[in-house]
């Protein structure tokens, strides 16, 4: 596949003869996902794949390098080629929390983040037949029965988990969080009534449709796919949170390469067709490009995540 498309691309450039040496991409781009296939990082990379090829005439090859909740990939990123031929997915809060938990082979600052392109907003999801009709029902139950409102969620020290910690503090409740391996397993536990609710993402609501009820979403404004679901802010809880995903390059990449990758991802995000696909899937787009914007974004998010992780007892 790669061979034929390379040949095709070569022929095309030969005829077009507009390509200069500085153009990005110079050839196919390896897009490394530091997780296994099937998760939100993989799915959104797959969404991007055809648009990248459409816009730039080069293949974007998705590769997986799972292990250690992303740490295996991120700890190796800076050993890879910095010429723009390799890009890697990054996730918040992972890249902020993991290095604080011990030596995981990388520090947050080691990663040259060039673009954050979307996030999956945290959301409380219950089954369609749940007695919790509103967020208030859940809070009332949790107040009457401490610890007994049991949430499933994807992982420890993740967006889901930190949202639970933050929300418990804000609402003055004590709930129980059970960590599952990935969103799929967490939703399975919810649908099978193993838990009372899930700290999930808006994507869960989109995928499960009528089977579930989303009680609130942690967004600034309501999600277009769920116009009837209130935000936490509307209900009096100042929470805008979720798992943010973006792209990093090896730190040997020149300023030029960083800007080029940033612009490329930005161009995909600007495609209305891509936007529709993402929103239909329950994702929410963000556009944080390379430079001062990114630095400000990450340091602002880091403060919130680290505070929550400290009160959760995940880090010291």
């Amino acid at each position: 596949m790669k061979l034929t498309s390379t040949l095709m691309a070569l022929t095309l450039t030969a005829f077009a003869s507009v390509a200069s040496a500085e153009d990005f991409p110079k050839g196919s781009v390896d897009y490394i996902i530091p997780f296994g296939p099937g998760g939100e990082s993989d799915i959104t990379a797959r969404f991007q794949q055809p648009f990248f090829e459409k816009l730039f005439g080069e293949q974007m090859v998705v590769n997986y390098q799972p292990g250690g909740g992303g740490a295996v990939g991120w700890s190796q990123l800076n050993n890879m080629a910095g010429d723009g031929s390799v890009i890697m997915g990054i996730n918040l809060p992972h890249i902020i929390i993991k290095p604080e938990q011990g030596d995981v082979g990388f520090k947050t600052d080691d990663l040259a983040a060039v673009y954050m392109f979307h996030y999956t907003p945290d959301a409380i999801v219950v089954t369609a037949d749940s007695p919790y009709k509103t967020l208030q029902d859940l809070i009332d139950d949790a107040k009457a029965n401490p610890k007994q409102v049991i949430f499933s969620g994807s992982g420890k020290g993740t967006a889901n988990h930190l949202a639970q910690v933050q929300f418990d503090e804000m609402a003055g409740i004590e709930s129980t969080y059970v960590s599952f391996k990935g969103t799929g397993a967490s939703v399975t536990a919810l649908l099978g009534n193993q838990v009372k609710a899930a700290w999930g993402y808006t994507t869960v609501g989109a995928a499960q449709g009528d089977k579930v009820r989303v009680l609130a979403v942690a967004m600034e404004d309501r999600h277009p796919a769920f116009p009837d679901v209130p935000t936490f802010r509307e209900l009096g809880f100042d929470m805008v949170s979720g798992a943010y995903r973006g792209i990093a390059v090896p730190n040997s990449a020149s300023e030029e390469v960083r800007t080029q990758v940033s612009d490329a991802i930005k161009a995909i995000n600007a495609d209305p067709e891509f936007q529709k696909q993402m929103l239909d899937g329950g994702f929410a787009l963000v556009d944080v490009g390379y430079g001062a914007d990114m630095d400000a974004f990450i340091s602002e998010k880091a403060d919130g995540y680290l505070n929550a992780a400290r009160s959760a007892g995940i880090i010291e």
């Binding site: 099937g38 799915i43 292990g67 929390i97």
Partner: protein
């Protein structure tokens, strides 16, 4: 309904199904190339297809890959995909005694039947089965993993205590890296190499395949006993065996469908559970584990049934049943097909065309699989050692790398392989270790989750033992666990004086010393794990600490037994120590050369060195030339296949 059958049978879809099954079978037969990877590589290609064609192609590759895993399991004692672990138990002994062709045919027919049962369940029973699967909670997954572990007793090759110690070792191996349930870094000894844990598939390759390679180079004996004359596919014989195993094949297919429908369980567990059940009810000879075709029937029908079974939660709930399903789910989303509750109503045409396509692909697997299987068997039986060893060793290296593009995984694979070889010679069979490694993470997650839930509702006992489904699995586990001891129990009860085992000869002093050292090393590992878990938070520590304490206790028991009975289970090392040590050293050397020389050159060099190490026969200059050209040719072709077609970024 008819229109969907017609849709599935369009010339394009037929062609895709045929190509998919053939490609999947070949990919699955290479250790390290899993069904998940086969499907993932294909995804970009499907973007330009219609959703139903894309699904048919992916389903066909998937089902072919699961079946293809059987070849390596039977012919090389190495599961080509994790689903085929239990195929090695009886498949390799069959191949050793010259029945490899029969084993391949049995595997093929069983896979087809299993695949059909799974696909039919998907067609007819998907929504209710998906609902039923949801009743499986964390505690049921925990007990299911324990049920899988109950196979230890059967897989211990004559020394139960050593089997249990091995399983504990495997469980501890599974705990290395960042903990899934508590996100804490464990047992890495400060090394980033171990951060991502021991990758299951590369560990499988190392533990199963490296010992075979070491034994191959050690002596001039033939790899497999060649049949006296070519007996074709031995189809009539295979069909007779299937008829004899009719209960087995149906039960295993049903087990495979149901385990497949459990999100996250997958083909390896389905195969193990089906194998364990088939073994428990087997009355015939030879015993399971010694080359009974029933073991292949059980595993292969079960693992192919997980294909259809796994699509049940994938399509009905939008929750992937098995890892390849996760990839397919993602590809469907890109296509704009939303799986989940509404798909069967809104997207009926896609769903049903796909299911009929899957049925078609499964049927096509019979001729395709038999033919490729026959070829693989012929190639491996006829190949001289000096060609077989370098090619297989190269496959283990490149296959391991391809899983997550990591050179350190290759080193871990080789080291584990040497550990597996030594352990095997000392009577610790490899399979319990693998069982622990595969089931360890599922067991731990289920345990910690159930504990958290039980603690929250203030009823730990009820959470672990009070749920009806759990009780059923516990009962089955006890039955399976004690089954191997039943004959002896009966004997003890009926004729007290005659207890077998006691008439065995006492071992000589050197053998006792060797066993003592092995047991002390095992004890040391257990104590190290105990010491390492001291500083972990309770959630991350509870499971490994329990295992380490159990392991310490078993080691003490084994030491006590050694002191009292002076019995030693061990297998003699045959052949040349120089060749035995040279093989892993050459392979490890290559790992360090890959970044220096580039993958292709280092791999070719490794091939040449291994050809010399494995060479026992006298060759003429002409045969040497042919040998070297063909070995380097295969290595070059595979390197190109991996880097260009499969897009693996080789160093």
């Amino acid at each position: 309904m008819l229109e969907f059958v017609v849709g599935a049978l369009s010339p394009l879809n037929l062609l895709l199904a045929l190509l998919g099954v053939a490609a999947g079978t070949i990919i699955g037969s290479i250790p390290g190339l899993t069904a998940t990877m086969a499907v993932a590589v294909l995804v970009p290609l499907t973007f330009t297809m219609s959703p139903d064609s894309a699904l048919i192609l992916m389903g066909a590759i998937y089902t072919g890959a699961i079946y293809g895993g059987a070849y390596a399991a039977i012919l090389l004692n190495t599961p080509g995909t994790p689903s085929a672990i239990a195929t090695t138990f009886d498949g390799y002994p069959m191949a050793k005694r010259g029945d490899g062709d029969l084993a391949v045919s049995v595997a093929c027919i069983s896979s087809v039947i299993g695949g059909l049962v799974g696909a039919l369940a998907l067609l007819l029973l998907a929504p209710p089965l998906a609902e039923a699967a949801l009743a499986f909670g964390p505690v049921e997954y925990f007990w299911l993993a324990i049920f899988g572990l109950s196979l230890i007793a059967a897989l211990s090759t004559g020394d139960f205590l050593k089997g249990v110690i091995g399983a504990c070792f495997g469980l501890l191996l599974a705990m290395i890296g960042i903990s899934e349930t508590s996100a804490e870094v464990r047992f890495t000894f400060g090394s980033n190499v171990l951060l991502g844990g021991v990758e299951t598939v590369s560990a499988l390759i190392g533990l199963y395949c490296i010992p075979v390679l070491i034994d191959l180079v050690a002596t001039p004996d033939r790899h497999l006993k060649a049949p006296e004359q070519t007996r074709g596919f031995r189809l009539p014989e295979a069909f007779r065996l299937l008829i004899k195993n009719k209960v087995n094949v149906i039960r295993s297919s049903v087990v495979g469908t149901m385990v497949g429908a459990l999100p996250g369980a997958g083909g390896s567990i389905a195969g193990l559970v089906a194998y364990s059940e088939a073994r428990r009810t087997n009355k015939g000879k030879p015993s399971y584990g010694e080359g009974n075709p029933g073991g292949i029937v059980a595993t292969e029908s079960a693992n192919n049934a997980t294909v259809g079974g796994g699509f049940i939660p994938t399509l009905v709930l939008g929750i992937p049943g098995t890892p390849p399903d996760a990839v397919i789910l993602g590809a469907l989303l890109v296509q704009g097909v939303r799986t989940g509750p509404s798909l069967f109503a809104d997207g009926a045409s896609i769903v049903y065309t796909f299911i009929f396509g899957l049925l078609l692909a499964t049927v096509l697997m019979l001729p395709v699989g038999l033919m490729i299987g026959r070829f693989a068997y012929g190639a491996i039986v006829r190949a001289p050692k000096a060609a077989l060893v370098p090619v297989v060793a190269f496959m283990t290296v490149i296959g391991t790398f391809a899983i997550r593009n990591s050179l350190s995984d290759i080193a871990i694979m080789i080291v584990l392989g040497v550990v597996g070889w030594v352990a095997g010679k000392r009577g610790f069979s490899v399979s319990p270790i693998v069982l622990g490694l595969i089931l360890g993470r599922i067991a731990e997650q289920g345990f910690v989750q159930s504990w958290t839930i039980g603690d929250a509702i203030g009823n730990l006992w009820g959470q672990f033992f009070g749920r009806p489904l759990s009780m059923a699995i516990i009962a089955l586990t006890l039955l399976t666990f004690f089954y191997p001891f039943l004959p002896r129990l009966k004997q003890i009860v009926s004729r007290r004086e005659e207890t077998p085992g006691h008439d065995r000869e006492r071992a000589a002093r050197p053998a006792i010393m060797r066993d003592l050292i092995a047991l002390l090393i095992a004890g040391g590992i257990a104590l190290l794990a105990l010491q390492q878990s001291a500083h972990l938070n309770p959630e991350a520590a509870v499971f490994p600490r329990t295992i380490a304490m159990a392991m310490t206790a078993f080691v003490c028991l084994a030491l006590l037994r050694l002191a009292l009975t002076r019995h030693v289970t061990e297998f003699a090392v045959e052949g040349s120590w120089i060749r035995i040590t040279a093989l892993p050293i050459a392979m490890l050397g290559a790992v360090f050369l890959f970044p220096v020389l580039g993958f292709g050159i280092a791999a070719a060099l490794l091939g040449l060195v291994l050809t010399v190490i494995a060479q026992h026969d006298k060759y003429s200059a002409k045969s040497w030339t042919i040998l070297i050209l063909s070995v380097t040719g295969v290595i070059a072709a595979c390197t190109l296949l991996f880097s260009e077609v499969l897009s693996v970024p080789l160093p």
